[in-house]
C-alpha cells in the first residue's frame, strides 16, 4: 500500500507540475501600448542592456519551487549550472530523487539529458525547458513594442517557430525588469514576475531573488536559494 500511495502521490504531484500545459490556457489582459518616441532611445538601450547583462556569465544556483495547481501545493528543488559555452543545465530533484535534467543551449535549443520513470519526457521538453529558457536565458535580440499607460517600457522578441513572442516589461528608464509575458496569436498565456531583487555575493548588480509564474492552470513560486558566481573561461 505504501508503494502504491507513494506512486499516487508522486504521480499527482508531478502531474500538478505540468498541469498548466494540460489544461485550457488562461489568458491575461493585454494592456495597450503607445509607440515609443525617438526620445526613448536611451531607455530602450538601457532595457536591452538590463536583460542581456542580468545574469553573470557563469554561475551555479540552488532553487526552491512551490507549484500550486487546483488549490494544492507541491515542492521540489532545482540545481542550475550555467556557462557561456554550454548554456543552462538544470536538474530537478524531488524527495524521490532526480526527476529530470535538461539543458538549454545558448541558442535556445533544448537537450534532454536525463529521463526518469518519475517524469514524462515530453513534460521536460515542453514545460521545464520553457521556464528555464525564458526565466534565465536572455533573448538574442529585442525590439521596442511601446510604452504602457504607466510609462513602463515594453520590448519584445520576434516570433519563434511556434509563433510565440516574449514581451519584456521594464521600468520607464529601462533599468529594472518588471515582467515577462509569452504571447501566442495575440494573447498572453504565460506571465512571470521577477521579485525580491537583491545583490547576490559577487554579482555586479541586483538579481531577481524569486519569480512568480502563472501559466495556464498552475502557479510557480521559484526562489533562488543560493547563487555562487564563478569565473567563465578566459575571464580575468
Amino acid at each position: 500500500m505504501t508503494g502504491r500511495a507513494a506512486k499516487t502521490l508522486l504521480s499527482l504531484a508531478l502531474l500538478a507540475l505540468v498541469a498548466g500545459g494540460c489544461a485550457p490556457r488562461n489568458h491575461f489582459a493585454v494592456p495597450s501600448v503607445q509607440p515609443v518616441a525617438a526620445s526613448d532611445a536611451a531607455a530602450v538601450a538601457r532595457a536591452e542592456q538590463t536583460i542581456q547583462q542580468l545574469y553573470p556569465p557563469q554561475y551555479r544556483a540552488i532553487q526552491r519551487a512551490i507549484v500550486t495547481t487546483g488549490g494544492k501545493q507541491f515542492t521540489c528543488d532545482g540545481l542550475l549550472q550555467t556557462s557561456p559555452a554550454t548554456g543552462l543545465h538544470l536538474a530537478i530533484v524531488s524527495s524521490f530523487g532526480v526527476v529530470t535534467e535538461v539543458r538549454v543551449q545558448p541558442d535556445g535549443s533544448m537537450e534532454l539529458l536525463k529521463v526518469t520513470p518519475l517524469f514524462r519526457e515530453d513534460w521536460s521538453r515542453r514545460f521545464v525547458a520553457r521556464d528555464l529558457r525564458w526565466l534565465f536565458l536572455p533573448p538574442a535580440s529585442l525590439t521596442p513594442a511601446g510604452r504602457l499607460a504607466d510609462g513602463s517600457l515594453v520590448l519584445q522578441t520576434t516570433p519563434d517557430a511556434a509563433g510565440v513572442i516574449a514581451r519584456y516589461t521594464f521600468s520607464p528608464d529601462g533599468a529594472r525588469w518588471l515582467e515577462l509575458d509569452l504571447w501566442h496569436a495575440g494573447k498572453s498565456f504565460y506571465r512571470a514576475v521577477p521579485k525580491n531583487f537583491h545583490p547576490f555575493a559577487g554579482a555586479a548588480h541586483e538579481l531577481p531573488g524569486s519569480f512568480a509564474v502563472t501559466a495556464g492552470a498552475y502557479r510557480l513560486e521559484l526562489r533562488i536559494a543560493e547563487m555562487i558566481i564563478t569565473k567563465a573561461e578566459g575571464q580575468p
Partner: protein
Amino acid sequence: MKNFLRFKIIFGALLLLPRPDAGAQTNPPVSLAQISQATGQAQTIFTRFVQERHLSLFNDPLRSEGFLCFQKPGRIRWETTAPYKSILVSDGSGVAQFEWTDDRWKKLDLGLGDALQQVVSQIAGVMDGRYASDQGAYTASVTNSAEELVITLVPKNETLRKMMAAIEVHLAADLKGTRRVVLRETGGDYTDIQFSEQRVNLTLPPKTFDRSTPVDIEQIRAAAKP
C-alpha cells in the same frame, strides 16, 4: 515503478535511522535484526543532517542541511535550514509542510495528505526498528571495521537494480550513532547524508510536531543541548 518507489521510501526511512541506545550489540557479527532491535529502543531522536546529492553531470553537489526530530509513535519532523527553510512535520495522524517565504512561515495546502501520511508512517515504522522485517525487497549485508558498521542493501528486483545500485547505512562500531547514509544509484549519482549532534531519548518541547504552529527549531536545539 511501484517497487522503485517502495525502495525509495525504504531509503528515505533509512535516512532517518535513529541512534541506538546504550547496551546495543558491539561484537561482530551483528545481524540486521539486532540492529533493528537496538534502534527500536529510541523513544525520541534529535540529529543534525547534511545532505549532498552528487549528480554525475554537475561539478558540485546539491547541498542542504537541517535537523531531524522523531518521537514514537510515528512523529517526525524533517526541517531544512539551508539553503532554504522548510519543515515537513507529521504528528502521527497527518502531515503538514511549511515554507519560509517573504520573511514568514507559510503553511502549504498540501495535496494528497493521506498518501503522504502513509509514506511518513512507513518511515516511522522503520525508526521503530521494524525495517528488518521488510527484507523481501533487498539483500542486506553487514560489514564491520574498527571504526564503523555498514549495512548494505541491494535491491533484489532486477529492474530496481538498474536504477539503484545500493544503499549504505554507516553506523558507529558501537551502534551508538548513525554516521552516514549513502544512496548509490546506477550511473554514478549518489546521495550522501551525514548525521551529527545526535541526541536520543531527550524531552522534546511541546509543539515540536504541531501541524499548525510548530515550535521554532531553536527551542528544540536548546532542549537538545547536553
